[in-house]
Subunit: 373 residues, 2 copies
């Protein structure tokens, strides 16, 4: 456990840091952006394309995998890596967030949560123990505990109840993990909830830090609140977290958000943003997001970014991608997804370089200035 | 011109043959299947994937490209190869077939055909000369002449009128080609029409053969008639065609159809089939088409075909592809399209081997027996 995460370099003017997670499926250098493959497939992107970008970890979602194809199929395949042919790391979200955001009918009890399938309306019940057991069974490399996520405008009573349950479930999850795990292949991360109540966030952060988790995640943020509220809560909560462990903010992945979270000491990110905006024709560039639908790209034969080294920019022009997107060609989604994921990978590579050179805060300011120009 | 097409080996028991088209963009060995990239993109497949399969030529469609992005954009890009980043051969269909099959409102005159755009309803007019000029402008490697395609149940009067016009247009196309071409980069193929009237097909085949085309295509087949009618007309018409030129059957690409057409001396094929059936979950196998939606594949962890060497079969199981297809993941279309195109490429490779060994007719019988078993 001591060697699972190592901090290699700390920034001298912020909490930004470079680290290394020693997973048996290959070292994950942090900070890291994890592309989202909700259903065990990163949308429109093949594993060789992720490999070329240096991707060492993707995120998958227990909620979706549980509903389709089902845990039994994945077990029969020999685990999620064999099933999907992705042999690097997979972090699986517990499905807590999906239970609360996707299921219109759900009942939360202290024992767990009952929900209706978004596929066929059938009833299901998740307990903290069951969620850990299933993640162990499919061979997840980093498992998340079941948590209760509140909406950003929830009242104090709701948040307190959810936080209490989340902490109770975290303890049960840890016990289940200790009971069922047969080796160190699958690691377990706790989740800090607490809504937008600072005292509660502090309490949850300290409580989760005291447990024996391999990493700690911030949950219930980036759920519709203002960017300032998100950043304030990240900065606040991260102070009370055991900084020896990797810190993961769930569901955040816009370039500026990543930079700010890294300043607060966050190490891991995931977000559907780079693949989702691709399907809508959007692309990240250093001077902000562009949309390929814009008429001016019709005869713009330059790549999305001239100095970008991704597959898409090495091979294709904005005019061609615009043409494909306009004509609903699948290849447009492939090309934009590859560029957008690579953009975040490049951003993180540059952030690491800046941290190494004790230049992070300046890099951050320059990047944000250009991105918002 | 003499060296453009060379026949390397003839089968001793059928009209099957192996040949070579010497294009400046790379030699095309025949028989050849040309994947369809209607809008200058093979649906869901990247150029590197086509390269890996040994693809030397794809088909694109002037009708679609003319409407979107428009000829001016392609010219500005420096031609269709630069625009699409595909640097091997591109055959462009003239759009004759699309004018007749996609446009509900069209007026055919001896001068050309007026049609309404399927995109915005705007009116357009194609003449034989304009169609050749546009294909020269975008840098097509093999251009098709404008033709008039009849439905398979058209009456004799209609077919005779259409055939007369198609021949007239072929002559005008050839003249336009001789006038406008500046080098030998773009070659021109004539199209034989004649509906399902054998005398007319003979007349058209002989007339087109007498003109100075680089290759000859059979049009107006595989348009809804029975398989037997298609094959009978291919066998009949091919007798009257100048066999020194490459023979291309337009829009036919099912495995059995390919085998039968090759027996009649056909060298070139194109069809949307391998990519279209992919989006519907279907895959070619040597024992016939399968559909990945079938429940029995849920826990079938073998590839689509055990001895297939395509990217998809080397990496993924039926169970995983079924899961992706069921969940509408774009990657399912990519994987199935790659397999299905590769299947036709493999079929043609094996056909070539059989022709070389004077074993084609036996190979054909065995393949069809297994495919239909």
């Amino acid at each position: 456990m001591k060697d699972y995460f190592r901090i290699l370099k700390k920034d001298n003017r912020s909490n930004a840091r470079i680290g290394r997670i020693n997973s048996i499926r290959g070292v994950i250098e942090t900070p890291v952006f994890m592309p989202v493959g909700t259903k065990a497939s990163v949308k429109a992107v093949l594993k060789e394309q992720l490999d070329e970008m240096g991707c060492m970890i993707i995120l998958s979602n227990l909620y979706h995998i549980y509903l389709s194809p089902g845990i039994e199929i994945i077990k029969k395949a020999g685990g999620i890596h064999k099933f999907s042919s992705w042999n690097k790391n997979i972090l699986t979200d517990s499905g807590g967030f999906q239970v609360f955001s996707l299921s219109d009918i759900r009942k939360v009890k202290d024992e767990g949560v009952e929900f209706k399938s978004i596929i066929d309306g059938s009833k299901h019940f998740f307990t903290p123990e069951k969620v850990i057991k299933m993640q162990l069974e499919i061979g997840s490399d980093i498992m998340m505990v079941l948590d209760e996520c509140s909406t950003f405008d929830a009242d104090d009573k709701t948040i307190i109840d959810a936080s209490r349950r989340t902490l109770k479930w975290a303890r049960q999850s840890m016990e289940a993990y200790e009971t069922f795990k047969s080796n160190d292949a699958s690691r377990i991360f706790g989740i800090v909830q607490g809504g937008f109540n600072k005292n509660l966030r502090k309490y949850c952060a300290e409580s989760i830090s005291e447990m024996n988790f391999d990493g700690i995640a911030l949950g219930g943020l980036s759920v519709g609140e203002s960017r300032m509220a998100t950043e304030e809560m990240i900065a606040h909560t991260s102070q009370f977290i055991d900084r020896k462990k990797p810190l993961y903010i769930m569901g955040l992945g816009d370039p500026v958000g990543i930079l700010n979270a890294i300043s607060s000491g966050v190490d891991m990110f995931d977000c559907v943003l780079p693949t989702r905006i691709s399907r809508n024709g959007s692309a990240f560039t250093k001077s902000g997001k562009i949309n390929i639908k814009n008429k001016k790209y019709s005869d713009d034969f330059a790549p999305i970014e001239n100095d970008c080294t991704c597959y898409t920019c090495r091979n294709y022009s904005k005019a061609y991608i615009k043409h494909l997107h306009k004509n609903k060609e699948i290849v447009a989604s492939i090309l934009l997804s590859v560029h957008n994921i690579n953009f975040l990978f490049d951003l993180i590579k540059n952030i690491k370089g800046a941290i190494l050179e004790n230049n992070f805060m300046k890099f951050k300011k320059n990047f944000i200035d250009e991105y918002r120009s």
